[in-house]
Symmetry: C2
Subunit: 421 residues, 2 copies
């Protein structure tokens, strides 16, 4: 019997080409696992009917993701499935007549949309119904809740997420999966509901680093990325853990463990001061998020303000109170910080190592957890990948993120496989 | 009888408050002029029914644009009017259930949407049906064709446009009106059809510089901008006219005339080398436009490729052939050029003076004209304002643009009034 847990995207393609698999095998295996776990985990907003491909020779040239089931976050437009933007059915028109750009691209590559995964309301902080597969009394984090949980539960090997605050990285940390946020602007967000356009970034969750590399190559049409076996000569900047909020012992252990492992593999690990106050960057991120979200959701607020959640309304109120001058100052400070970071990285480091979240997923489902450790990196537009390297004695994951300068995504993704057991 | 041509937005508000005007007076005057000229000029995709306000005491606090009729470019979503994105009715759903952010903001300020102005197909180069009011055998330029022509014809005093290549500035030049493109990202483009999100910028056309300042203040909620009476101490960098395409004698005359006038008003005008090759910037703009447009319109191409225009298909083909590496190189080069420009401007110049277009609107309606003189400025994200200062003996306008560094919009807009007759 096929071990779908260990399967990779490339392995499935190989099995298809030699007749070991049929095109819908993975889709059906995923669907079985969804049917078994969905009542507990609540990861899906809706599921697609079984697609109509039956023969292995259906593969067209360039379809490097043929037959791969993919979860689509519910803020991403799909022509054949409803889109509710994580809301409780606010909108009159819930079905776009057009796919988002990324959905079209996935279809062109032969991937099969499994359905829409649960998102928090407009990808902000109001908790969703989804549970953390490692402990259903805890959240998966927000906003890409369903995508992270579905991949963690083994329902899917690939699910799309978006990050505006920390909606890929901190969920990947809470759920013990790989989460990748490319350089800002790498994938088109046409057809993705905007929260804060200067920050909104499409990325994805996977179970294997090889699959993250495969997806990057496929979705950007770029050259294959070779994984490093060792890390000799890689210069790693170990970011100081922020003082607020206080990181848990697990987070510190995860960070130190990853740094030690990188050293053993030949990397040169040294402490880094990124040249800009982390707290200041967090402040700029909050300003840009609030200012832009208030404008991006201006019409929604007028129409649906009475049934919006209090976290969202608080954000929109905050944005309404901000002046253009404050917003522009935050943008200008961000541009300066990007230049400083690029200089630091160019001269001294290849990648940075930083915590993904202050601790494990919190207890109780009334919060999505604090994404604060991602705010600065999202603001700077840099590629980040969560590495699920550490687990507590209770079996809860705590991730660390590896970060590179903008446009260094391929170099970044060449590293993590070496660290995996 | 009211001289609507000379009316300003602030003047109308004063007239309303003292009972001289009724709230729908300007709307009805505009509508009359539209009815008289529309069959010749073809500026509207659809017109709104008369709004339901009847008493002058309908003004709510903060409604600084109360009763102002506004033309809305057809790529901007409106809940009460169809949106066709400049296409010939490609889409099944032509009516969004939500207003774009800018439409909501205009409504909050009390403005009255007059209708949807003609856009070229997805705001690209295929000529629209609209004629230039100064010579109906010539085009108004593209893509904000209807907005520019409606303001030039006196149908409207305010119409929204967007600029991705030169779709505000070169039309304002061809039509002899004021066109303003703010710093990239100043106004939310939520609900505006994306062509190339790194470049797409919302702006507007007006007949008076005072109105452009009023709109900036109203739409951004910022402080009023005082107009300079003279330009003593203003450091003006006179941009060398690009060699390709060869500028017409009128363009050179317009540029030299504006420079002379600024000198007379006390400005220090000197030649500038912006530190980066104009041709290189144009090349980067072409790469970013093609790469992003191909992805932004990926779903549209699959659905409607057979009825798309050849200029659009050529752009999408070009974008398909570009690699991620080429795209990223263009983005990185752009970031470097922005830094160089900021240094130049900070140290040596307050504003730059440059041509808006290679000449008058071309003859014949089978082209929108060449927007090449705007490509570099759009790429750099800087605020630009077209000044309609020069007219040929045949009565055709040739504009020049004034440019400031990003986030210097208010300083930029304080200057042009001094130059007007």
């Amino acid at each position: 019997m096929t071990d779908w847990t260990a399967m990779t995207l490339a392995g499935f393609q190989r099995g298809l080409s030699c007749g070991e698999f049929s095109p819908l095998d993975w889709w059906r295996a995923s669907r079985e696992r969804i049917d078994a776990l969905e009542s507990t985990l609540q990861t899906w907003k809706c599921l697609a009917p079984e697609p109509a491909i039956t023969t292995p020779d259906g593969v067209k040239p360039g379809q490097s993701l043929f037959g791969i089931p993919v979860g689509i976050k519910d803020i991403i437009d799909t022509a054949r499935l409803p889109t509710t933007w994580g809301t409780r059915g606010y909108h009159r028109v819930e079905q776009s007549d057009m796919d988002a750009s990324i959905v079209t691209e996935l279809a062109r590559l032969g991937a099969l949309p499994m359905g829409k995964t649960v998102s928090t309301e407009y990808a902000y902080f109001q908790p969703s119904k989804t549970h953390n597969p490692h402990d259903p009394t805890r959240p998966p984090g927000g906003s890409s809740s369903g995508s992270a949980a579905a991949v963690a539960a083994g329902m899917m090997h690939v699910a799309l997420g978006t990050q505006t605050v920390g909606s890929i990285i901190h969920l990947a940390s809470y759920c013990g999966v790989i989460g990748f946020k490319p350089t800002y602007g790498t994938l088109s967000v046409a057809g993705v509901k905007a929260l804060a356009p200067s920050l909104d970034t499409l990325g994805w969750f996977t179970r294997h680093f090889e699959d993250t590399r495969t997806l990057f190559t496929a979705l950007t049409g770029s050259e294959p990325i070779a994984a490093m076996a060792r890390l000799d000569g890689v210069r790693v900047g170990l970011c100081q853990v922020p003082s607020t909020p206080t990181p848990s012992a697990e987070t510190i252990a995860a960070l130190e463990g990853a740094a030690a492992k990188m050293s053993v593999l030949g990397a040169q690990v040294s402490n880094v001061d990124v040249g800009t106050s982390f707290d200041e960057l967090v402040g700029h991120q909050r300003v840009i998020l609030a200012y832009e979200a208030t404008r991006a959701l201006a019409s929604e607020r007028i129409r649906f303000g009475e049934i919006m959640s209090s976290p969202l309304l608080a954000l929109l109120d905050e944005g309404q109170s901000l002046t253009l001058a404050t917003y522009w100052q935050a943008r200008q400070a961000t541009e300066r910080a990007r230049i400083v970071l690029s200089q630091q990285l160019g001269e001294r480091f290849d990648v940075l190592l930083a915590p993904s979240a202050p601790g494990t997923a919190p207890e109780g489902l009334n919060s999505t957890g604090d994404p604060i450790y991602s705010r600065a990196w999202t603001l700077l537009g840099v590629p980040c990948v969560n590495m699920p390297l550490h687990w507590t004695p209770q079996g809860l994951p705590v991730g660390v993120q590896l970060i590179a300068d903008r446009y260094q995504d391929q170099q970044l993704l060449s590293i993590p496989s070496a660290l995996m057991p």
